[in-house]
C-alpha cells in the first residue's frame, strides 16, 4: 500500500526530506513509525509524538488505508 508522508522540523532534518510516497505494509501509524525509526534513526520516541492522518489528529492504532497522508508531530513550540 502507498502512503504519503510529510516531515516537519527536527524530523524533516533527520529524514533529509519534507515528504515522500512510501510503499509499506504498515497497518497503523504505530507500525509506520517503527518502520521509519529504523530507516532514518529519528531521535524522538513514539511517546513524544502525536500523529495526524489526512490533516486531523489520529490514534496510533487507527488502520491506515492506501493514499492516506501521515504526519508525525514532534513536541510543539508555538508562541
Amino acid at each position: 500500500m502507498q502512503l504519503r508522508i510529510h516531515y516537519y522540523a527536527l524530523m524533516r532534518e533527520q529524514a533529509g526530506r519534507s515528504e515522500e510516497t512510501l510503499d509499506t505494509s504498515a497497518a497503523t501509524p504505530a507500525d509506520l513509525y517503527a518502520e521509519l525509526l529504523t530507516r532514518y534513526g529519528f531521535t524522538l520516541t513514539r511517546e513524544q509524538l502525536k500523529v495526524a492522518v489526512n490533516s486531523e489528529f489520529s490514534d496510533w492504532s487507527q488502520p491506515l488505508t492506501a493514499g492516506d497522508a501521515v504526519v508525525f508531530i514532534p513536541p510543539v513550540a508555538g508562541g
Partner: protein
C-alpha cells in the same frame, strides 16, 4: 478566519480593526516577541515552521472554545512563520469584549492553548553557532534540568534519548 499564519510582519492595527464591535467596551492583546536568551543560551534569531493545514484547524478550534467559554465579542490569533530576528513579533492574540475581565481571561486562554496544541515548531539559532528545535532536542541532553515551572509540554519523556549534535 480567526486563526491564521503570515510570513510577513503582523499588522496589529489591521488585526485590531477586525475586533471592533459596537458592544465592546475595550480589547486586550498579547504579543509574543523573540527574546535574546532561552535556557541559558544566547539566541540570535528564530525560525518558525508549521503544519499549516492542521494548525489552522486546531487554532480555529481554540479560538472557538474561547468564544464559548468566555462572554467576549471577537477574538483573533495571528502567528508568524519563517525567520524572525530578535524583538520581532512571533504571535499576536486580540480579544474584544464588553468588560475587561473576560477579555484578559480569553486572551490568556488562547495563547496558552496555542502554545500547547498547535503544530508549530521553533528552531533557535544561538550565538555559539549551534541551533536546536525547542522541546525536541535540548530536553534530551543530560545537563538539561527540568524546571517544573517551564511552560512546555513533555510528551511522556523517556529516561534516555540519543543526543543529536
Amino acid at each position: 478566519m480567526r486563526f491564521r499564519f503570515t510570513p510577513a510582519a503582523i499588522d496589529t492595527c489591521a488585526a485590531r480593526r477586525e475586533l471592533l464591535d459596537l458592544g465592546a467596551g475595550g480589547y486586550v492583546s498579547f504579543e509574543g516577541w523573540v527574546r535574546d536568551h532561552n535556557e541559558g543560551q544566547e539566541v540570535m534569531r528564530l525560525e518558525y515552521e508549521a503544519f499549516q493545514e492542521l494548525a489552522v484547524k486546531e487554532g480555529e478550534r481554540i479560538v472557538a472554545e474561547a468564544l464559548r467559554r468566555y462572554p467576549v465579542k471577537q477574538a483573533l490569533c495571528i502567528h508568524r512563520v519563517g525567520s524572525l530576528d530578535l524583538s520581532a513579533m512571533a504571535v499576536w492574540v486580540g480579544v474584544s469584549s464588553a468588560h475587561r475581565g473576560e477579555a484578559f481571561d480569553a486572551c490568556r486562554f488562547i495563547i496558552d492553548e496555542v502554545k500547547h496544541r498547535v503544530p508549530i515548531w521553533k528552531k533557535e539559532h544561538y550565538r555559539s553557532g549551534d541551533s536546536g528545535w525547542v522541546n525536541c532536542e535540548r530536553c534530551a541532553e543530560p545537563g538539561h534540568r527540568h524546571d517544573p515551572s517551564h511552560d512546555h509540554v513533555h510528551h511522556g519523556e523517556p529516561a534516555v534519548l540519543a543526543i543529536q549534535k
